[in-house]
């Protein structure tokens, strides 16, 4: 909604960018003043004429008028100055290029060291054809030309014999003449580079129009205008100059010193020294982190931020100001859960809603509504902060208005009102790190009391959010075009399915899964009151069905309740997560209730657990619904059925207690027996090893074999012990329910709580580090027994021995270190990948192309399939199709 009175400039389109070297002529032409004094201010505080704040560099003081262009500081763009260098200076950044140019051209006549016919051949046939069409290949040609030319020992043009040039980074060049090594000064180098003809320079990969070879040796240095290096006035009234100004001052100082040495005929060594220093200072001015130069510092401490430092790195101009910017109309706060808002909504605190605004144009249709906002003013939600009058080219800030009523009455169609965020607006919601496209999604605003963003729990998986203090960002799209785009493309329901692996990324976790399980197991029957409790908040569209049991009182099964929310024509089959061990089910003909069958929208058998409703579980119920009934249907399911799932927990309760991990005496005895057995076997292995009769694993030493065998045996012991303990747990045990349904925790967690922690390892080995031949002084020297190498027999319920606690801490620390290292490494890899791939596009003909139109892939993914629209990679699930056609009758 561009306002007509906001002046817009026709946008410029950058067609191309060309990099080159500035010629001395050009530098002198730009420069309005020659800088010759290193002091900046006179004693009276006025800038030194011919110093780094010379008025000719641009007007920056209020009221000052520029002596060059006559503008005041608002209009004056600033002007360049120059430093005439007393002696030329090599740019060390171009050192390697200078080196190769010296080596491949004649030291006398400056021609390229190749026979004349070959030069013309290369120029005409190859280079002219290559440069525009095959820039990458042209580079390679240049490399081979340089290589060939620098190996020539006699100039084919003038017959002069050639010598090797040795380059000592960053600035020193030597020539290996027969009489010995001779230093090449920048003067000599410049002379030689000047002699290279334009045609030969082209063959060296230089475009002489934009960068003559000799321009790589500076004779005059441009001094950037003052707006590039503004000074700041501290509270104390003292002036602090920009780092660039400091660096330039140092250059001027060295330059003047060298000048005076030259004019007073100082000894050669002093001149040499001053010259070298000047080269270092100029190098540092360009890049203060260049290897092997003297860094410029602030009074021996902080290195100066010179030109390269302004551009480089995360906070540099490119990454910090161009690729990434700070934005307005955004908010950030802590997130907290609210299961009773829709998945595509976000709860926004009133305070934030009053700060973030959207522009609405007044029309005859909305004028009454907009008037109400203006009447409320900027401090009462839902109000307005600004009014733009169309006919007066005026912006009215409501904070400074008293008579809202008058303003509201004066509103006319065509005016624009900046109003608060209200329910139903669309915003973008984001949690860092933004690793995939689901890290930024469109949400519908729901203004709420409180100070946190409220999020539906089901969108935690795509954002990878939890509520231990996570903060998230919110952005308001302000143009109608942007809002429409967000609604069409970014809304949460458009991202239920991930393009990564063809499955739903949004779905239940933790309580949703336990709740679904408790709701759908055969033993759960609900009274009318319980049914109403569960179903009421879920906003079912169908009425409650006939109860499954009528006498002695009406009772409903959980499966009946689930069926109320499923689409009428849904059919689904699949194995539940709990389908393992004794409860395994492979088909419909199974009594363990661990095979889900939904037919015509009715849950006929099977329990719902992680496999049926979990997040990131391909081919589960939400996935099938999203694909076959549309994303909107899937969202409805999340807003209804899933709400019922957590309601179940409020009816039935889910809690864990110490008693849940208690196992009966006989189980403990069995575990002890297994432990003794394993220990005996381990001792036997150790005995065999000591006697040297242990059968080694091929490719391993005896010691390695022993360790591996012991680890293997002890790992088996833990699984066995866990199995025993789990076997004795009641099926109604809440921890057991959680691990079995996949809601939280694993069998290993349960084993460690109830049975034993088992072998602790670092990098897959038993714990051996610590003292010389033993991890702790509690053990004998060189002891190999399980206990001495990190085997923990205790469990969390019974508690650990001191040595066991220590071993557990060692293994735990390794895990923490691993995660820290892994996140940083994978983050960097991700960055590089994204930078490499971000501009690739699948074009309408199915090919993948880069921004130049070069073909990268002839068919996207070699099959042209969008994984988002697949069943976990398969475009068609043949079994489902067959099932659908066949099962329509039953």
């Amino acid at each position: 909604m561009a306002l007509k009175f906001e002046k817009f400039r026709e946008p410029y389109v950058i067609e191309s960018i060309k990099f080159g070297l500035l010629s001395p002529h050009e530098i002198r032409r730009m420069a309005k003043v020659s800088i010759m004094r290193s002091d900046i201010y006179e004693a009276d505080g006025s800038p030194v004429v011919g110093g780094l704040r010379d008025p000719h560099l641009g007007a920056i003081e209020p009221g000052e008028s520029c002596p060059v262009c006559g503008n005041t500081r608002e209009e004056c763009p600033g002007h360049f100055g120059r430093i005439e260098l007393a002696r030329p200076v090599i740019l060390p950044h171009l050192g390697d290029i200078i080196h190769s140019m010296l080596q491949s051209t004649c030291r006398k006549c400056g021609r390229l060291l190749l026979p004349p016919d070959r030069i013309s051949n290369l120029t005409r046939l190859y280079y002219k054809r290559l440069r525009d069409r095959w820039p990458r290949l042209a580079e390679v040609v240049v490399k081979s030309i340089i290589k060939e030319a620098s190996e020539t020992t006699e100039c084919p043009h003038c017959g002069e014999s050639q010598f090797k040039v040795r380059y000592i980074r960053p600035i020193i060049f030597y020539e290996r003449r027969p009489e010995g090594e001779v230093r090449l000064t920048p003067l000599d180098i410049r002379d030689r580079l000047e002699k290279i003809p334009d045609e030969d320079a082209m063959l060296l990969g230089v475009d002489p129009k934009s960068a003559r070879p000799e321009w790589a040796v500076l004779t005059v240095l441009p001094v950037p205008p003052l707006p590039v290096r503004p000074s700041i006035t501290l509270e104390t009234g003292l002036r602090a100059e920009d780092d660039l100004t400091h660096a330039l001052a140092e250059i001027v100082r060295q330059n003047e010193k060298l000048k005076s040495f030259l004019s007073t005929n100082a000894p050669e060594t002093m001149i040499e020294d001053a010259w070298l220093t000047l080269q270092h200072v100029v190098a540092a001015y360009i890049d203060n982190e260049f290897p092997n130069i003297y860094q410029l510092t602030h009074r021996r401490k902080r290195p100066l931020k010179t030109l390269a430092q302004r551009l480089k790195g995360k906070e540099g101009r490119l990454r910090g100001n161009l690729s990434g910017k700070r934005v307005n109309f955004s908010a950030r706060t802590v997130v907290s859960p609210d299961p009773y808002i829709s998945v595509n909504e976000v709860g926004v605190p009133v305070e934030i809603a009053k700060t973030l605004t959207v522009q609405v144009r007044v029309t005859p249709h909305n004028i009454e509504e907009v008037r109400r906002y203006v009447l409320n003013g900027p401090y009462k939600w839902p109000g307005a902060t600004f009014v733009y009058k169309a006919d007066q080219d005026r912006k009215i800030d409501l904070r400074y208005q008293k008579d809202y009523k008058k303003l509201a009455e004066e509103l006319r169609p065509g005016d624009v009102v900046e109003r608060h965020l209200i329910d139903g607006d669309i915003v973008l919601f984001n949690r860092q790190p933004t690793l995939h496209r689901m890290s930024i999604m469109g949400h519908i605003v729901r203004v709420m009391p409180g100070k946190t963003f409220r999020v539906n729990l089901l969108v935690c998986p795509p954002y990878n959010a939890d509520f231990d203090g996570d903060e998230m960002n919110l952005h308001v799209p302000r143009l109608e075009e942007a809002q429409a785009e967000a609604r069409e493309l970014l809304l949460v329901e458009k991202h239920i399915l991930t393009p990564r692996y063809g499955g739903p990324i949004i779905g239940g976790r933790q309580d949703y899964i336990s709740g679904a399980y408790l709701l759908t197991i055969k033993t759960s029957l609900f009274t009318l009151e319980e049914v109403s409790r569960i179903v009421s908040r879920a906003e079912a569209k169908t009425s409650i069905p006939e109860p499954a049991i009528l006498k002695p009182k009406p009772l409903w099964t959980g499966k009946q309740l689930v069926s109320m929310f499923l689409p009428q024509d849904l059919s689904f089959k699949g194995r539940a997560k709990i389908s393992s061990g004794a409860l395994k089910c492979d088909s419909e003909d199974c009594f363990n209730d661990s095979y889900i069958v939904i037919r015509k929208g009715r849950l006929l058998m099977g329990v719902m657990d992680k496999n049926a409703i979990g997040a990131e579980q391909p081919n589960n119920i939400p996935h099938v619904i999203a694909l076959e009934h549309g994303e909107n249907k899937a969202r409805e399911l999340f807003d209804t059925l899933f709400r019922a799932f957590i309601r179940v927990l409020e009816v039935k309760g889910l809690t864990i207690a110490y008693s849940d991990i208690e196992v009966p005496e006989e189980a403990m005895e069995e575990i002890n027996r297994l432990t003794e057995e394993a220990k005996k076997e381990a001792e036997e292995l150790i005995r065999q090893y000591r006697e040297g009769v242990l059968e080694p694993i091929p490719g391993r030493t005896a010691e390695e074999s022993l360790e591996l065998k012991i680890i293997e045996r002890l790992q088996k012991l833990r699984t066995d012990a866990g199995e025993v303990a789990i076997r004795y747990l009641k099926p109604s045990n809440d921890i057991f329910i959680m691990t079995r349904t996949g809601a939280r925790g694993s069998d290993v967690n349960l084993t460690q709580m109830a049975a034993m922690l088992g072998q602790q390892t670092i990098r897959g080995r038993r714990i051996v580090r610590g003292f010389r031949t033993r991890p702790l002084s509690h053990f004998k020297l060189g002891e190999l027994s399980p206990e001495a190498r990190g085997f923990i027999r205790g469990n969390f319920r019974g508690g650990l021995k001191p040595t066991e606690v220590f071993f557990h801490a060692i293994a735990g620390r390794e895990g923490l270190v691993d995660t820290a290292v892994k996140t940083s490494q994978s983050g960097y890899m991700q960055r590089r990948l994204i930078n490499a791939l971000q501009d690739l596009v699948v074009s309408y003909d199915g090919t993948v192309r880069d921004s130049w139109g070069n073909i990268v892939q002839f068919k996207y993914g070699e099959d042209g399939v969008d994984p988002k629209a697949t069943y976990h990679g398969k475009p068609v699930d043949v079994k489902r199709v067959v099932e659908k056609v066949r099962g329509s009758g039953g």
């Binding site: 095959w134 139109g853 070069n854 073909i855 002839f858 993914g861 070699e862 099959d863 042209g864």
Partner: protein, 87 residues
């Protein structure tokens, strides 16, 4: 980068997909179908063993048919170039 010629059996190796030099007419047709200039195609070095065996020259377009885990048979086109892109 010449040296000993590659041996013919590499064409039969199970990891080497089927290569074929396109005729001029075919090449023009392919380029027209894709709407690209030759240099916008992926490239293959003239020093590639298979390219040397086929005797292709710079500027030729090679059709490669390879088995793809996703798409059955995937066809790709490569432009033969004289210089390696190694820097």
């Amino acid at each position: 980068m010449s040296g000993k010629a590659p041996e013919r059996w590499i064409l039969e190796h199970r990891l080497v997909p089927e290569h074929r030099v396109l005729s001029l007419e075919e090449a023009i047709q392919i380029l027209r179908r894709l709407g690209v200039k030759p240099w916008q195609l992926p490239q293959i070095s003239i020093n590639d063993p298979v390219v040397r065996l086929l005797g292709a020259k710079p500027g030729d377009i090679i059709e490669i048919r390879r088995k793809s885990p996703t798409g059955g048979v995937a066809i790709a086109y490569r432009l033969v170039v004289a210089f390696e892109r190694r820097s």
